[in-house]
């Protein structure tokens, strides 16, 4: 080989890669997604050797918390994997904290319809929250801060800034990645909607810009409403929080790194796999208990962050957490995460009872007696969300009942199994209160205003939202047990969970799964209960027994000898049709059960027996929870005045006591 050829070859082999690199760089500039990094397939935070979800996003966030001003300054590197099957040229982002401003949709709705936490009698500056984007860059496309525009897809309220959209200069091709570099500044409100500060406590929830979800061929990124919660894609979270060293911190995921800084701060780094949100809390006063639970997929580290005055309830909280984990694993499926943090939030803050992935808040008081199970109820409920909100991850904007409602149903099942059906909430001085009744009360307060299948922000009011989303759904599923059986229902929810975890199923997915597992066509029921607002109310309208020979002048009735003509009249008062059973009791001890398809407005049962009717009762096994009036489900021939006398005595005692109290102090 001649020297010239050798030099040429050398030049070519040397330059060729350079040229190739230059070409790639040019291509990158043209299409930035080509070499964007993959979303990591880490399994640091899960008891699994492979990812559990289709990871769409990776958030890498660095944030500094100012505990005096209650502000956060952060940088966020968001990697998005376009799995939509089509080019994407626009991306919506949630800025949830902007909800807490006087003209925002959340505050407007909360003031008009009420909300769980806030009444807004008057506006105070400490109520204000904001999430301001300082700069917004799309890697490879430059700074697009000026291109950001607030949109209001739900109500057109131009003052609402909870959703911002960017249109990128070049569409991201299907299968490609895109990276967003966002600098943001948060002002946290005094706790509202389970986010913000209270005294020296802080709960960081919905605190960073979050991309919407591409769902069923369109972006799903709703404004934040007073009655809505959240919806997000699964992915990986790496979050570094810098905050004062005296703060005791808890967060979603696994703590992977901690460092003390020279300026008196600490930086704590967390990693989360297969989660769709990240929350954290800090307070200098938390007392922390560690525990473990041996789950089906591995050990779960439990971290309980208690208020000092509640430390004596730590065991109560640990117990209910482990029992809930145990029941859910046995009934519905495994809990795959390595951690679970339970936060006992600041008393009187609007931070109690909230769920985030691997992170929940409870709620108790220092005086809480052991026979009132409300702290257990809250913990169980929020833990249940780990399954329906956390892993199944339904769209809480549009199908709130699939999270809150199914969770309320499983809450009934778990609480009943632990504390007994009639005493699962309270058993104090002979006064009992069960979960089922609690859900029923929720439901009957707003039985016919809205269907379950309604966008969460479109309910008549927050009362209806809660009554239908929580209470009615629980009652619908409890009543469904009567049709398909309790075991079938459990099996159906197990199948639903295992099949749809780490996806975003629709309402039809869960309904079809129940039909599939039960092997029954349940459309007639779902159309009324889920999609309709029909009122369920059957009553025993009339019962009577008359001697057949009533016309005889000297008739003397003798028990067991006189023949009676007896009638039972049942009435469907509502427009919900449902097959019902009725039990008729006769005074000779005989019990007769009749079936009625419940289609007509009324039905009459006639008997000729040598016994009189004592009582008739619809749903004698008490398996129907949808009936809005249980008092008219039965009727006795003879009145039993004792219950009314008992309650009248209570009432009279109260009135007399008040009279004497008044006279004691004034005369």
């Amino acid at each position: 080989m001649s020297l010239c050829k050798t030099l040429t070859l050398l030049l070519v082999t040397t330059l060729a890669p350079l040229v190739a690199v230059a070409q790639i760089a040019e291509a990158e500039a043209a299409n930035p997604a080509v070499v964007a990094p993959l979303i990591p397939d880490t399994t640091v935070a899960i008891n699994s050797s492979a990812p559990l979800s289709q990871r769409v996003v990776a958030y890498d966030i660095d944030a500094n918390y100012d505990a005096v001003k209650h502000t956060l300054d952060g940088t966020e590197l968001l990697t998005y994997h376009n799995l939509t099957g089509q080019p994407l040229d626009r991306f919506p982002f949630h800025l949830y904290l902007n909800a807490f401003q006087p003209k925002a949709t959340w505050v407007r709705e909360a003031k008009a319809m009420g909300s769980r936490d806030t009444s807004y009698e008057e506006w105070e500056e400490k109520d204000r929250g904001s999430d301001e984007i300082k700069s917004f860059e799309v890697v490879g496309m430059g700074d697009l801060t000026s291109k950001l525009e607030f949109i209001q897809p739900d109500d057109g309220n131009k003052d609402d800034k909870t959703v911002v959209r960017v249109i990128v200069p070049k569409a991201v091709a299907p299968g490609d990645y895109v990276q967003f570099k966002i600098k943001f500044h948060d002002q946290l409100p005094e706790t509202q909607a389970r986010s913000g500060w209270n005294r020296d406590f802080v709960l960081g929830g919905q605190w960073f810009p979050k991309v919407g979800v591409w769902w069923h061929g369109a972006w799903n990124c709703h404004q934040y409403h007073a009655t809505t919660e959240f919806f997000a894609d699964f992915g990986v979270y790496d979050v570094s929080l810098t905050l004062p060293q005296n703060e005791v911190v808890g967060a979603s995921g696994v703590r992977v790194k901690e460092a003390k800084n020279f300026d008196g701060t600490q930086t704590l780094t967390y990693h989360g796999d297969d989660i769709h949100d990240f929350a954290w809390t800090a307070s200098p006063r938390y007392r922390v208990a560690e525990d473990t639970f041996q789950g089906a997929m591995g050990t779960v580290q439990l971290r309980l962050m208690m208020q000092p005055a509640h430390w004596n309830q730590e065991q109560r909280h640990a117990r209910i957490l482990k029992e809930s984990l145990d029941q859910f694993e046995r009934w519905y499926g495994p809990y795959p995460y390595k951690t679970l943090t339970l936060v006992d939030p600041e008393p009187d803050s609007a931070a109690f009872g909230m769920e985030y992935p691997t992170f929940i808040t409870g709620g108790t008081s220092w005086w809480m007696p052991a026979l009132i199970h409300e702290p257990e109820l809250v913990v169980e409920h929020e833990f249940g969300h780990q399954y329906w909100y956390g892993m199944v991850a339904t769209n809480e904007f549009e199908d709130a009942w699939m999270d809150e409602g199914i969770n309320s149903y499983t809450e009934v099942k778990v609480m009943d199994s632990i504390f007994g059906p009639d005493t699962s909430i309270r058993n104090l001085f002979g006064a009992t209160y069960g979960e089922r009744e609690d859900q029923r009360l929720f439901y009957i307060g707003a039985a016919d205003l809205d269907p379950m299948a309604r966008n969460a922000w479109q309910y008549a009011n927050s009362h209806s939202y809660e009554g239908v989303t929580y209470g009615k759904t629980a009652c619908v599923l409890l009543t469904l047990e009567k049709i398909v059986g309790e075991d079938t229902m459990r099996n159906a929810l197990h199948t639903y969970f295992m099949r749809y975890r780490f996806t975003h199923p629709t309402k039809e997915d869960v309904l079809k799964t129940i039909e599939e597992i039960s092997g029954r066509d349940l459309r007639w029921y779902f159309n009324q209960a889920v999609y309709g607002t029909q009122v369920f109310d059957y009553e025993v309208m009339q019962i009577s027994s008359d001697p057949v020979n009533w016309y005889e002048k000297d008739l003397k009735e003798k028990k067991g000898e006189t023949l009676y003509e007896s009638r039972v009249l049942l009435h469907r008062k509502g427009d919900f049709t449902f097959p019902v059973e009725v039990e008729i009791r006769f005074d000779n001890g005989e019990r007769v059960r009749e079936q009625w398809d419940g289609q007509d407005r009324w039905v009459k049962f006639n008997y000729q027996k040598k016994a009189k009717i004592e009582s008739a009762e619809i749903d004698p096994d008490h398996t129907i929870y949808l009936d809005r009036d249980n008092f008219n489900n039965s009727r006795t021939m003879e009145p039993n005045k004792a219950p009314a006398r008992k309650l009248a005595n209570y009432w009279s005692f109260v009135v007399q006591s008040l009279s004497q109290f008044l006279a004691w102090w004034l005369v």
Binding site: R635, V655, S659, Q660
Partner: protein, 320 residues
């Protein structure tokens, strides 16, 4: 301390000598409560009498069933239940106000006044007692209002603390102080009422001023006597609840009625005991002060003679 106990015992002797008044006022309260709760009673019977679900309110107390009952549209509004009861509560208050002069007359007299004397005394003093009540309302309203405002402010301030129990302790402390102050005012006006009856005092302001002096000079023993009786009333409440919970089955309506009414009778008795204690104190004080007052007071002597001091047992000491 021995003297305080004696004062309490003296009051107890008076109140036990005139138990009938407690019985009649209790009966009156019960009767008025029956009227006041008639609407609720009717509704309860309408909903519960023929329903098997009512059994869950008889055998135990299922809070969910109760709430479901009051949530029914047929149950009606809360004011529908509360307003009639409130009217009868006010009626009981008025009747008590009317009867109290007669009771105090008996407590400061030897023997038992006749029915005519009782009601004559009631009638003669009714308007005076109303005026005492007005004075009481002004004093208790102003002082109580100021104290409650301070209480609210302190509790509000304590809620900013990171020490969770601070609001509770603040509540406890401030309400305790308010209770003591209002009890002192109550003692003051109880003595004023006795003074009005005993002296047949038309100018009730003089009774109020005199009673203020008595209270000021004997604050500790009087407050102690009232406080001890209040503690006994609390013990009656606790004991009653314990007996009710431990020994009366949930379905025993009559048993619950008896226990609750015994509690009410005892509470009523406690208040009458306080009044009797005030009466006993006043009579001793009057005995001591009478000669001095007779010379010092330039105003004509009242039409009625000075009261007959009830005989005190030998072991009872005068409080001076």
């Amino acid at each position: 301390m021995k003297e305080d106990t004696n004062l309490i015992l003296a009051g107890l002797r008076i109140v036990s000598r005139h138990k009938g008044y407690i019985f009649w006022l209790w009966l009156l309260n019960l009767s008025l409560a029956e009227f006041g709760t008639a609407a609720v009673r009717n509704r309860l019977h309408t909903v519960l009498d023929h329903s098997l679900l009512a059994d869950r309110l008889l055998q135990g107390f299922d809070r969910g069933v109760y709430l479901e009952m009051v949530a029914r549209p047929e149950w009606g509004s809360s004011p529908g239940s509360a307003v009639p009861a409130m009217y009868f509560t006010i009626l009981f208050f008025i009747v008590t106000l009317f009867c109290m002069p007669g009771v105090l007359d008996a407590y400061t007299s030897e023997g038992r006044p006749s029915r005519e004397d009782f009601f004559r005394c009631c009638g003669r003093n009714l308007w005076r007692f109303v005026r005492v009540l007005v004075f009481y309302g002004i004093v208790a309203g102003l002082i109580g209002g100021a104290l409650f405002s301070g209480h609210v402010a302190l509790v509000h301030a304590s809620e900013k603390s990171t020490y969770e129990l601070l609001p509770f302790y603040t509540n406890l402390a401030t309400l305790g102080v308010i209770f003591l102050v209002l009890t002192v005012i109550r003692v003051w006006f109880d003595l004023a009422q006795v003074d009005v009856v005993v002296r047949d005092q038309r100018a009730v302001r003089k009774s109020v001023i005199a009673a203020f002096g008595y209270t000021q000079q004997n604050l500790i023993p009087l407050l102690a006597a009232y406080g001890i009786i209040c503690l006994l009333a609390l013990a009656v409440l606790a004991g009653g609840i314990w007996v009710w919970h431990s020994f009366v089955p949930s379905s025993n309506v009559l048993g619950a009625f008896v226990v609750t009414q015994v509690m009410l009778v005892l509470w009523l008795g406690m208040r009458f005991w306080q009044r009797a204690t005030a009466a006993a104190f006043y009579m001793r004080q009057a005995t001591v002060d009478a000669p001095t007052q007779a010379t010092a007071d330039p105003t004509p002597a009242p039409e009625v003679t000075l009261p007959v001091v009830p005989p005190l047992d030998g072991d009872v000491k005068l409080l001076v």
